[in-house]
Symmetry: C2
Subunit: 283 residues, 2 copies
Amino acid sequence: MDTVKKIDVLRSRLKEASRNGKSVGLVPTMGFLHEGHLSLIKRAREENDLLVVSLFVNPTQFGPGEDLESYPRDLEKDADSCSAEGADILFAPDAGEMYFEDYGTYVEVSGGLTKGLCGKSRPTHFRGVTSVVSKLFNIVEPDRAYFGQKDAQQVAVIKRMVRDLNFDVEIVVCPIVREADGLAKSSRNIYLSEVERKAALVLNRSLKAASERISSGERNGDEIKAMVENMIKQEPLSAIDYVEVVDAENMKPLEILKGSVLLALAVRFGKARLIDNIRLEVE
Amino acid sequence: MDTVKKIDVLRSRLKEASRNGKSVGLVPTMGFLHEGHLSLIKRAREENDLLVVSLFVNPTQFGPGEDLESYPRDLEKDADSCSAEGADILFAPDAGEMYFEDYGTYVEVSGGLTKGLCGKSRPTHFRGVTSVVSKLFNIVEPDRAYFGQKDAQQVAVIKRMVRDLNFDVEIVVCPIVREADGLAKSSRNIYLSEVERKAALVLNRSLKAASERISSGERNGDEIKAMVENMIKQEPLSAIDYVEVVDAENMKPLEILKGSVLLALAVRFGKARLIDNIRLEVE
C-alpha cells in the first residue's frame, strides 16, 4: 500500500487504473480508524479493483469551539490498519493541499435535510462535509463510495448531493458497528472517562427499548421521543443535544411512524458529543 | 450529430467514448447560438475527439424579474449550427431532467469574486451558474470545457470553482466575438430596437478609448472608470448598471492599474442588459 499526500500523484495513479478498466472504491475517513471504518474498508475491498482510503481531518466541517485541534490522530496505526485490510492507496493530504489560503467554494445541500438534527447545533457542519466529499469525488472519481449508517443524516445529505449534482458514484451505506456492550464505535469514544463510558450505554439501550416499543405497535413519534429522552435523562452525566424521530430519507420529523423511520440522537457525556441511531421499516 | 435529452443516454454514449480513450470537449450554452458560441465550438472541435454542446436555459441563474421566460430559443436552428460545426452530441435536457422538484444543492463561490460587478445586481446568478456547470461537468466529465471571455466574471468564478473543488477539467477561454461595427455578440442583442442597437455601440467605443488612454500611460483606475461612464452617459438610451476596473483574476477593484486588468461594464438599453469588457496586461 502507498501513502499518498499529493493530489497530482494520486490522480496519475488513478488514471493508470482507469485506463486499465479497473473499478475504484473510496472510503473517506477522518482517520483514527475503528472497527466501523474497517467494516467499510472490508466491504469496499470486496467490491472494487482499486481501493482508496482517504484520511483527512477536514477543518471546514468543524464549527468554532468544536474539537478540530483535539480530534484524535494516529496516521501510523491507521496506515497499518489500511494496509492489513488490503487498501491500495491511503490518501492523507495536509490541509494546505486541500485548501488554498483564499479557498471559498462551498457545496451546500439546503433545506430541511441539513437544518435539523446535527445541523441545528452544527450549522456549518454539513456544508463542510459536502464540500470536502465533492473534492474527494472529483479527485478520486470513484465508482463506489462507502459511508457508515452511524452518521445517518450525513448519509442522507450526501445521497441528496449526489442526486442533485449528478455525481456518477454509487453510495454504499454500511451498518453501525458496536462494542460488545452496545456502544456505537466512534473515534470520539476516546474522550470518555470510565464512568462516562458506562453512562453512554444508555444510548443503545434506549434505542433498543424504543425499537421494541415500535415493534409492539406504538406509532406516535412524540411518545417514542419522550420515552428515549426520559431514559437518557436517568443518566446524570448525559446532556441531550437532540432526540428525533424522522423520515430516514428527508429527515422530516414524523408524528406518525410509517415507512423508513430514523430514530436519531446526539448526547454529550463530558467532552464527548456522541451520536447514535436506529433505522426501522414501519408498516 | 445526435440530439440527446436524457442524462442516462448521454452518459452511456460518453462511457463508450471514454473506454476507447477518446478525449471529450464540452461547450456549455443557453442556446440561440451566435458567432461567439460558434467560435467556442470550432475551437473545441479542433481540440477533442468527442464534442458535446449543451443547450440549457438554466432557470437557477435567472433572478426574479429577469428574462427567463423571454430568453430567446431556437432549438432547430441551434441543432443545425452544431451539426454544421461538427459537434457529435447536442445535449438539450428539459428543466425537469436537470432539476428534481425538491432540488436543493448549490455550489457557491463565496467572497469578492461573486459579490461585485454582475453579482451586485444579480445576487443569485453565479450560484446558479456554478451549480449547473458542476452538474454538466459531473454528467459529461469533459477533458476541456469552453467559455467566452465576454462573460469575464463568469470565467473567473468557474476557474476558481474548478480549482477549489478539484474538478479535473481544463477551462479554455475564447476571445469576445463582435459584430462588424464592434457590438459584442450576444443572444440578448435581439431585444434591441434599431436605435438602441446604434446607441449600444458606445460600449465598445468607450472600452477602446479607455484602452488607448491606458496605452498612453494612464494608470488611475478611477480616471478610466469616470471616462468610460461619461462616454456612455452621452447616449440618452443607456442606463449604466456598472463600470468597473478590476484585477482580472480576483475581480478586486484596482486603484492603480497593474498586472492583468479587466475593464468591465453592464449597461441597459431598453429591455436588454448588455455586458462587455476588455482585458489588458499593464506593466
